[in-house]
């Protein structure tokens, strides 16, 4: 018996040692254009996020031991894919802004930095004060201009175009979801005033969704529930009245935990502008939707707090 234990233990040790030689490459890629932000803001992000969201990954010795290293390397690879502060120059100014708001929201919802990582790297935790610094910085970047002429013109252009517009066939998203024109007959379940990106939204639910709300069966949402979210520019006048400007897009989330198993049980689709152009370069556009909705995983990936009508 003793001998068996000894053999088992040695086998274990040999396995662990050999594991050390299997090292997925994380690569040390170049910094093409680093994040530009005030020093105090940047310091927090560098400390808490750069190991996985930049090309300046700084692994400690205990990160390099297998099997821990496996997880670390995979986090770094995936983390860089969605958000890389070292290639900040590759993003449009609007996308940079969007990513920063998304980043701060991921921190606020407790989704980032990844818990297991923050547990070991106690210096990477983002304190309440750190979070306040980040939020204040973002609030300071919001500028709402009354009578924004570019936005007024954009709306006017859409009004003009509407007259000679005739949709022939319903558009289809790259993951095979057909646009649902009927959403305009559904119930409104909420609205959202997005001061982070200057848009306003109306969120609709189909009959299945509305029934689920009435019956308090919304976590998880039942199969067949569909949300539609329509977004417009915000147009503000000098008196602070904000009305809808140009139509930006309409998005759908269709619940079907079998058909859409691979995308967390939801079929995602986005159609842009009044021409309803399907969004994305390929099917993988849904990865974007999922990463941002992921902090809502305890609410079946849904942000909206629905209203009963």
């Amino acid at each position: 018996m003793k001998k068996f234990m000894l053999i088992a233990a040695s086998a274990m040790i040999i396995l662990l040692i050999s594991l050390q030689f299997f090292r997925p490459e994380i690569g040390h890629l170049s910094v093409t254009g680093d994040l530009q932000a005030p020093a105090n803001v940047k310091a927090i992000l560098v400390r808490a996020c750069y190991d996985c969201h930049s090309n300046q990954t700084n692994l400690r010795w205990y990160d390099q031991i297998q099997p821990v290293y496996w997880q670390v390397a995979s986090h770094v690879r995936q983390g860089r894919k969605g958000l890389n502060f070292s290639n900040w120059d590759k993003l449009s100014p609007m996308d940079r802004k969007g990513k920063l708001w998304e980043a701060v929201n991921q921190i606020e919802q407790g989704a980032m930095p990844i818990k297991s990582y923050a547990f070991v790297h106690s210096d990477a935790r983002v304190s309440k004060q750190d979070l306040a610094v980040l939020k204040n910085y973002l609030i300071g970047t919001v500028h709402e201009t009354p009578n924004d002429t570019a936005k007024l013109r954009a709306r006017e252009k859409q009004v003009q175009a509407k007259a000679d517009q005739n949709q022939q066939k319903l558009p289809e998203s790259l993951n095979g979801i057909t646009y649902i024109p009927d959403y305009k007959n559904w119930q409104v379940i909420s609205t959202s005033d997005r001061f982070d990106n200057g848009t306003m939204r109306v969120i609709y639910g189909n009959d299945v969704a509305v029934k689920a709300i009435k019956e308090h069966h919304i976590n998880p949402w039942p199969n067949g529930a569909i949300f539609a979210k329509a977004a417009w520019d915000k147009l503000e006048d000098e008196q602070g009245n904000v009305t809808t400007g140009a139509f930006k897009q309409v998005e759908f989330m269709i619940k079907d935990d079998i058909k859409f198993r691979q995308t967390n049980g939801w079929g995602f689709a986005r159609f842009k502008t009044p021409k309803l152009k399907p969004y994305g370069k390929d099917v993988m556009f849904t990865a974007e939707c999922i990463s941002c909705h992921k902090p809502m995983k305890d609410n079946d990936f849904v942000f909206t707090f629905p209203i009963k009508n």
């Binding site: 007959n185 009245n241 139509f247 909206t304």
Partner: protein
């Protein structure tokens, strides 16, 4: 040593992580919900537009019936017979799920307006309901202004 202990705890925790789902009661926006007795959903009106008042921090949705939608875009400054509107207004609150968004908070009011013709005269039936329970208001001062306000709203662009 502490590090290694931490690492082992994490390895263990990742294998066992499991958190209960948030309950429906915590997710439904109770204070913004309309009383069931108001039966807005049974009117089957559609959204005409939504708007916000940045000074008062309110957010509103204007709904209209089929007649309104059939003549949207046309001149409806004085309203047309058969039109029926509902305007719901909420105080805004911060969205606990998204820093950067404001969503409906306390329900402030609902207003209804119907337009009818009688002996080639346009008649407006306007009624305001106030507060969480949408209590019918008897006071009619300012009604004419509200009628004009509702009729002046442009429709949102919707493909």
């Amino acid at each position: 040593m502490k590090r290694i202990l931490n690492i082992s705890i994490v390895l263990f925790a990742t294998l066992n992580s499991c958190k209960p789902l948030t309950g429906a009661d915590a997710l439904i926006n109770q204070k913004a919900s309309l009383p069931e007795s108001f039966r807005l959903s049974e009117l089957h009106q559609k959204v005409i537009t939504s708007f916000i008042n940045n000074r008062k921090h309110t957010t509103s949705i204007l709904y209209g019936n089929k007649v309104v939608h059939s003549i949207l875009g046309a001149d409806r400054a004085n309203g047309n017979s058969g039109e029926s509107f509902t305007l719901v207004t909420w105080q805004q609150q911060d969205d606990a799920h998204w820093f950067g968004a404001r969503i409906p908070g306390d329900l402030i009011s609902a207003e209804t307006l119907t337009v009818a013709d009688s002996n080639s005269q346009t008649i407006y039936h306007y009624q305001k309901f106030k507060g969480k329970e949408l209590t019918k208001l008897a006071d009619t001062t300012g009604n004419a202004d509200r009628v004009r306000f509702i009729l002046s709203k442009k429709a949102s662009i919707m493909p």
